[in-house]
């Protein structure tokens, strides 16, 4: 099964999927300023699998959100697939997220009112493609080993099962870029290995992947490892 979209379309002017230029994100909390991400410069080529490690509170989730356009940088530019994303309208930005980016969140992120398959189909709702999404959703649930829980609601699934449904949802629209925040956070080693295998397969199809992780095993799978420390980003040498 093809998990991702075809090799990217027109206007491929650089090899970079992600370019962060002098990105900072600060929060004002009372009189003090929290520097969650500070002056980060980063370039991730298409098709690369990158892991980000770092202590709790070092700014990893904030960085992923900046890459995905979920939060506006206090300073600097975010360029995804050669598009300076903060020059886009809300509609264009939403479309970009919908078609190109797959988010996988740190916490359980399923919609309690929808069953597994409807949760997986959700991203297709916002797209402009008119093809039936049902079959693809089933395939993806198969892929994550939940073919017999298609109609279960999140409340009827274990934490690990919910994470796998969420992963299937991440892949729904065949994203060219996957931003995964601790995708194997509370999973046993076997399930972690399964999920890693899926990431590797997708990466093999040319999808760019950024994984935030605490797991050595996961981090070591990446072609490149980055470390966040108090909002600062550095390359981790092998």
């Amino acid at each position: 099964m093809q998990l991702s979209g075809g090799a990217s379309d027109a206007l491929m002017t650089t090899d970079a999927m992600i370019v962060l230029k002098d990105i900072s994100k600060t929060y004002k909390v009372g009189p003090s300023t929290v520097r969650a991400v500070e002056k980060v410069d980063l370039e991730i080529p298409r098709g690369q699998m990158v892991s980000i490690v770092g202590h709790s509170g070092s700014g990893k989730t904030t960085l992923l959100s900046l890459i995905g356009g979920l939060t506006k940088p206090s300073d600097g530019r975010v360029i995804i697939d050669d598009i300076n994303i903060w020059t886009l309208s809300d509609k264009e930005m939403s479309q970009l997220r919908n078609e190109k980016i797959g988010f996988s969140f740190q916490f359980a992120s399923l919609f309690p009112t929808l069953n597994a398959i409807d949760n997986v189909r959700l991203p297709a709702t916002f797209g402009s493609k008119n093809e039936s999404d049902h079959d693809r959703a089933i395939e993806l649930l198969n892929l994550v080993g939940l073919e017999d829980r298609i109609y279960s609601y999140p409340g009827q699934l274990s934490g690990g099962e919910q994470r796998r449904v969420a992963l299937a949802r991440t892949l729904m629209n065949k994203p060219r870029l996957i931003l995964a925040d601790e995708p194997t956070g509370d999973l046993d080693e076997d399930t972690e290995a399964d999920i890693l295998e899926i990431f590797r397969t997708i990466n093999g199809e040319g999808v760019t992947i950024v994984i935030v992780t605490h797991s050595r095993a996961v981090a070591s799978q990446a072609q490149r490892m980055l470390r966040m420390h108090r909002g600062l980003l550095s390359e981790e040498e092998e």
Binding site: L70, L122, F126
Partner: protein
């Protein structure tokens, strides 16, 4: 299989909190139901008045002094009465300047002792030679006058054309049934004056309780004014020229109903305004709560690529779902309540009542629904807007 849509998502969200959804629907139903039923009631009274006045066909009624009230009651709600004056009054009225046509009527209270069962009815004797109320109807519908064993009945008398009714030991054939007016006419039975006198005379022999009506007696004189006559001046002239009488004008008759209903109208407007405002505020409050609770989900939707506009529409749709359901429930419950309690309401307020034509019904339903839907949209506008403005990451974090 179809794609998930806005409506499906909205419906799923509402099912999550059934009690809250139910309460919202109930509040809107209360507002919509009050509006629907009260407007229907008022409209029905107006319509009844219009139709009833046309059927009455007279500009004013001359009745014995002191019987103005009971005369009005008889005309409006059909409360049976009997009062009599001498037949010579008719000739006196005819001579008053400004009177174009004048025709006598005789009122006789009766119990119905036939298949029909409304209890009291008002028997009305009219004079075929001068009458301008029943005769035109007979001309249009029967193309003849009534024989001495025939009557025409109001729409509420439970008998059909061709059946028989009995009064004071007499059998009568029902020659026709008048259209509904919602007013006293509906509970009246019309016969010619001669028939009425004959029935009265023979009642001494054949009826259980004989009638004390002498030939020549009448109850009222219906008057049509000459063109260009002033009602008030004519009323005054009749009162002075014909001693022992008083006058009920058609205007007065409508006004007495309008007055009775105007207090109700004011009260209803106040109550319904309050209920609508309350339901708007409640919906606004509930949807602010919903937006708060669902911040994380809204953030997630945005991360998956839903636009601001979609989030906005989703919230608005949820609200409109609820208020539309409230509107439908209100129309049903309000309509049913009016249907069930109509008799009590009309008799306690002393007002006539006639259900409006279907088109009016439909219009009123449409207006109620539009109002309910617009209310939902307006009340949820601000919460929906603020939910769509949330920054996805902030929304996701704050909902944690």
């Amino acid at each position: 299989m179809k794609r998930l849509g806005l409506l499906y998502l909205a419906a799923q969200n509402l099912r999550r909190k059934p009690f809250r959804s139910f309460v919202t629907i109930a509040i809107v139903a209360l507002a919509a139901g009050t509006l629907f039923s009260a407007t229907l009631l008022i409209g029905s009274v107006d319509r009844s008045l219009e139709v009833g006045m046309e059927r009455l066909g007279a500009d004013l009624l001359v009745v014995p002094e002191g019987y103005q009230e009971s005369g009005q009651a008889a005309l409006i709600t059909g409360a049976p009465t009997s009062f009599y004056m001498d037949g010579s009054i008719l000739d006196q009225v005819k001579t008053v300047p400004g009177v174009d046509q004048a025709s006598p009527q005789l009122f006789i209270e009766s119990m119905v002792s036939s298949q029909c069962c409304t209890g009291h009815v008002q028997l009305v004797g009219y004079d075929p030679s001068s009458d301008f109320v029943v005769s035109p109807w007979l001309r249009d519908n029967l193309q003849r006058t009534l024989s001495k064993d025939e009557v025409v009945i109001g729409s509420l008398i439970l008998a059909n054309k061709g059946e028989q009714v009995h009064f004071y030991g007499h059998d009568f054939d029902v020659a026709g049934v008048l259209d509904a007016t919602g007013m006293g006419v509906d509970e009246s039975v019309f016969m010619s004056l001669d028939t009425a006198y004959l029935m009265a005379r023979e009642s001494a022999q054949v009826a259980e309780s004989p009638l004390d009506v002498k030939p020549g007696q009448i109850s009222s004189v219906l008057v049509k004014m000459a063109d260009g006559t002033n009602v008030d001046q004519l009323t005054q002239r009749i009162k002075t020229n014909v001693p022992g009488t008083t006058v009920i004008t058609a205007n007065e008759l409508s006004r007495s109903v309008t007055d009775r209903i105007s207090g109700f109208k004011r009260g209803f407007i106040a109550v319904d305004a309050i209920v609508w405002i309350m339901s708007l505020l409640t919906i606004a409050a509930i949807f602010s709560m919903i937006v708060n609770e669902r911040q994380r989900e809204i953030g997630l939707l945005r991360a998956m690529g839903s636009s601001r506009q979609f989030v906005f529409r989703l919230m608005l749709t949820e609200a409109v779902f609820l208020t539309a359901a409230g509107g439908i429930a209100g129309i049903f419950v309000g309509g049913a309540a009016l249907f069930i309690f109509k008799a009590i309401i009309t008799s306690s307020l002393g007002i006539p009542y006639l259900w409006p034509p279907v088109l009016t019904f439909v219009k009123l339903m449409a207006i109620t629904m539009i109002l309910a839907i617009v209310s939902g949209a307006v009340a949820s506008l601000y919460p929906a807007l603020s939910s769509s403005r949330l920054e996805p990451y902030a929304a996701i974090r704050r909902g944690e």
